[in-house]
């Protein structure tokens, strides 16, 4: 299988002097297309930092990250914005939905950023809402939804640009176990049906076990990798 995201000797640190903190130390990681990967570790282990670096939201101090062989940090910021807009989808623990907007408006935000016109936005928005079974909520305000519904809206938003990779940061962290299970099923079905690469940051071992690979991080180092 082709490698889609590659981290080579990635180092990241924060602070200076006494506050110096090395978040990632010489991380090497090769993620293949259509894999499902769990990055596990305790809080403060550096797993979120690794995800941010793989998603080009953050820049390594040393080493490099490649997407399909290209280091996007070397390109113009417009290319990088485009990469995150078109190839990546993001799902967060806190959902990050705009409570003042409708479900549909939240879902089409990436298309709005990509300069897509109103009509097409609505058409595509309703399609993805149907795929996460939330079509009837399209015009509700997100503030009126349950946690599971909110996370489905977030997944619909991540899906709207037909991404290659979905980054999920503790996607079930704010949900009860039953709802969490349905969200997990939804994510894995996307991998199965559309071949979307899943990179899930979690401390939930059951969720991690469902992934093809588990990367364990402790103190900024990869301490274990299981497939």
């Amino acid at each position: 299988m082709n490698s889609i995201i590659k981290a080579e000797k990635v180092n990241k640190s924060y602070g200076k002097g006494e506050n110096y903190f090395s978040a990632l130390k010489d991380i090497n990681l090769d993620i293949k297309a259509s894999q499902t990967i769990a990055i596990v570790g305790k809080s403060g282990s550096g797993k979120s930092t690794l995800m941010h670096i793989l998603a080009f939201l953050d820049q390594p101090d040393k080493g490099q990250v490649l997407y399909e062989g290209i280091d996007y940090h070397q390109l113009k910021s417009r290319k990088l914005d485009e990469l995150r807009n078109k190839k990546y989808g993001f799902v967060f623990q806190q959902f990050f939905l705009n409570p003042h907007q409708t479900v549909l408006e939240n879902v089409v935000l990436p298309l709005k950023i990509a300069n897509i016109g109103r009509g097409q936005r609505k058409k595509r928005g309703l399609e993805v809402l149907a795929s996460v079974n939330l079509l009837e909520k399209a015009n509700s305000k997100t503030i009126n939804l349950s946690g599971g519904q909110k996370q489905r809206v977030a997944i619909a938003r991540a899906l709207i640009n037909d991404p290659e990779v979905i980054f999920a940061d503790e996607p079930t962290g704010n949900l009860d176990s039953v709802t969490g299970k349905t969200i997990e099923d939804l994510l894995f079905s996307l991998n199965k049906e559309k071949g979307i690469t899943l990179i899930i940051v979690t401390h939930d071992e059951d969720l991690a076990k469902r992934c093809m690979r588990q990367i364990s991080i402790t103190d900024g180092k990869i301490v274990g990798s299981q497939s």
Binding site: D58, H100, I113, N115
Partner: protein
């Protein structure tokens, strides 16, 4: 994001905290209204003065005097010049009116582009009488073409050898006639006293009735034949040197003369020790004073706007703070820093836009009410004066200028938003 989406998003964000937006808009509104009103009054008064200047006299006439020479200066009194006549009087500023005679008249008539020169003899008639009753009057000789706003008939004809006058409309009923039309071509009598005390009378025809001007008193205009006849009566008994001296010369020039050629005339006049002013020059003196007053009033508006732009900065900083997560999300989803900057700048500009539009509308409303009230009360005697007017260009300059100020005020918060680190922002909650 497309610009239409940016504007819609910015509007939605402003509507999200209505009270805060409204308060910021009110501050802009006050500044915009003040500036629009003061300029509106300025324009209204200037427009009206411009119309009225025509009633003061012809525009193709230079009023020429000898340039005042000080009778004294720091180093003592000036040398006596036996050829220089001085009229009675003087003032604390050291100037006294110098008198001219026929040699000045011929000197000025030789200046290129001057078509005719006339010595202005002050004429002080005793009374004017129509069908019955004698009334006082101010009488001036009409020089050049009349530009007065005629209600009936036309201005006096200087080519006519007959005696003609044109009167302000306020004289019509005093002279015993019902309407401006009725008095046309009727004969009135003017009484004038000579230097040695004899009262003479002259009969003149009314050629026209003009709208009374706001500036200047109600003036009766005489044609040249009538004026010289009146002066002849008035100067009887004066020594010839006094009778033939005067302080003012009126010189006419072609009305289509270019500004540079007119300036050439003025330059030559001052080179020869005279000063020449057209009606326009006098008008400019008034306008300069008026503009100064308006600029001072505008300063109040500007101060209000400066205060208001701090309001904009504050509002946007709060907005950036509240929407940290949203900004981080949009950046994570691929929105460029420049578009984030634009989004917040547009919010600032929209506050400026609505504030200034409402301010202009408020000013128009107040202006119209003020015009209506003023025209029925304090300005009743000034027909045709619109106190406040709002030319489109002024309104456009106010609106665009305020949007620009709002944009500048918005740059700091907008920059702060555009520089937010998406990771920091997403950790915020």
């Amino acid at each position: 994001m497309r610009y239409s989406d940016l504007i819609l998003s910015a509007s939605a964000n402003l509507l999200r905290s209505k009270a805060r937006t409204l308060l910021t808009i009110i501050a802009i509104f006050i500044g915009a209204m003040t500036i629009t009103l003061t300029n509106g009054i300025g324009t209204g008064v200037k427009t009206y003065l411009n119309q009225q200047i025509g009633n003061l006299g012809a525009t193709n006439v230079l009023t020429i005097n000898l340039s005042p020479k000080k009778t004294s200066n720091g180093s003592g009194p000036a040398q006596y010049n036996p050829n220089q006549q001085v009229s009675l009087g003087g003032d604390h500023f050291g100037g006294s009116q110098l008198l001219m005679n026929n040699s000045d008249l011929s000197k000025i008539s030789e200046i290129p582009n001057i078509t005719s020169v006339i010595a202005v003899h002050p004429i002080a008639p005793d009374y004017i009488m129509g069908t019955s009753g004698k009334y006082r009057l101010t009488l001036l000789e009409q020089f050049g073409n009349s530009t007065a706003d005629m209600l009936a008939g036309k201005g006096v004809d200087n080519n006519s050898t007959g005696y003609q006058i044109s009167i302000p409309n306020t004289y019509v009923s005093a002279l015993g006639y019902q309407s401006s039309q009725a008095i046309l071509n009727k004969t009135v009598t003017i009484g004038i006293r000579s230097a040695n005390g004899n009262l003479g009378t002259v009969q003149a025809l009314v050629s026209g009735v003009q709208q009374q001007a706001v500036i200047g008193s109600a003036t009766v205009y005489a044609n040249t034949s009538l004026a010289s006849e009146l002066y002849t009566i008035q100067s009887q008994g004066l020594p010839p040197a006094t009778a033939n001296s005067f302080s003012t010369i009126e010189a006419t020039f072609p009305s289509n003369l270019s500004a540079s050629k007119l300036q050439a005339i003025k330059n030559q006049l001052s080179a020869e020790g005279y000063s020449g002013q057209t009606i326009k020059d006098k008008e400019n003196t008034i306008f300069t004073a008026l503009t100064a007053v308006i600029v001072v009033l505008d300063m109040f508006g500007v101060i209000a706007l400066i205060a208001a732009s701090f309001g904009i900065i504050n509002t946007l900083y709060m907005s950036v703070q509240e929407r940290t997560m949203e900004i981080g999300l949009m950046k994570a989803l691929g929105m460029s820093s420049r578009k984030i900057f634009n989004l917040f700048s547009i919010e600032a500009v929209l506050i400026g836009f609505w504030g200034s539009i409402l301010g202009v509308l408020g000013a128009m409303l107040i202006g119209n009410v003020a015009n209506t009230i003023a025209n029925h009360t304090i300005l009743k005697s000034f027909p045709g004066l619109t106190l406040v007017t709002f030319p489109l260009t002024t309104v456009a300059i106010v609106v665009i200028g305020i949007m620009l100020i709002a944009f500048i005020a918005g740059t700091m918060p907008a920059l702060k938003a555009s520089r937010k680190d998406p990771i920091e922002a997403l950790r915020y909650e």
